[in-house]
């Protein structure tokens, strides 16, 4: 983890800022989605074979 810290100091500052922003945005979206039943929704669709996707029916 130490080496990682040094690495972050050496990257141009703005890149770290954008990374933090993006990651924060990602987590934010994830949480909103989860709160709204996103997990169940993805689970239900993925727990059945998508016959369309494998070229049948």
């Amino acid at each position: 983890m130490g080496k990682l810290k040094k690495q972050m100091h050496q990257r141009p500052r703005y890149k770290d800022f954008v990374f933090a922003l993006l990651f924060g945005l990602g987590v934010f979206l994830l949480i909103i989605g989860l709160k709204d039943g996103g997990f169940l929704s993805v689970f239900r669709k993925a727990a059945f074979i998508c016959l369309e996707c494998i070229g049948i029916g």
């Binding site: 080496k3 059945f48 074979i49 016959l51 369309e52 049948i56 029916g57």
Partner: protein
């Protein structure tokens, strides 16, 4: 450093696989039993995919397995128990509102219901959706076919249903005489129904 990280990630990924495999073992056992049963139910159809009524009848005469009994709440508040409705053959369609082929075959299913409801029971079992969602769908599209709510997917698991839509027909003795995975055309539905009557 790179080597350490890669060995760690390698070990981590292998660990995840083991955790998942062992966690799912119990579920898998139950599911395996049911899946084996449904496999027996599925009749193989001719490639031309529009089997004649005669062909379906011949297939049906081979002894289909007994349908497993279940009891589900309907959207109109009543309870539906499969083996207590054997006065007429029963067509069961397993579906969900988010499943494109299910939604696409629904109008034809509805038409079959309207044409044959005096001679056959129809029940469309919805997989794990709330009453509100189902009713919204039915009202928006003006469908009247009876819908049962399999809210925890128990019946689906029992029958080993791994893909939807799945349609099967139970005759008056409680035997499964027809089963098909995937979307059905109107002709296919008609032939299957005629054969079971």
């Amino acid at each position: 450093m790179t080597k350490k990280i890669s060995t760690l990630s390698f070990a981590f990924l292998i660990l995840i696989s083991f955790v998942f495999t062992s966690c799912a073992k119990n579920e898998e056992k139950e599911f395996a039993k049911a899946a084996e049963q449904l496999k027996k139910y599925q009749m193989v159809e001719k490639k031309e995919s529009e089997p004649t009524t005669q062909e379906v009848k011949t297939e049906a005469k081979k002894e289909g397995p007994m349908a497993l009994d279940f009891s589900l709440q309907m959207t109109d508040g009543t309870k539906f128990t499969l083996l207590q409705n054997l006065d007429k053959p029963i067509l069961v369609n397993y579906w969900a509102t988010w499943c494109p082929p299910c939604v696409r075959e629904f109008p034809d299913l509805e038409e079959m219901y309207k044409n044959y409801k005096d001679r056959m029971h129809f029940v469309a079992i919805n997989s794990a959706e709330t009453k509100d969602v189902i009713e919204a769908f039915m009202t928006k599209n003006k469908y009247t076919i009876p819908v049962a709510m399999d809210s925890d997917n128990a019946v689906g698991m029992m029958y080993g249903i791994a893909s939807i839509p799945t349609t099967f027909i139970v005759d008056t003795e409680g035997r499964i005489v027809f089963a098909q995975l995937g979307m059905m055309t109107k002709k296919q539905m008609q032939n299957a129904i005629e054969a079971a009557l």
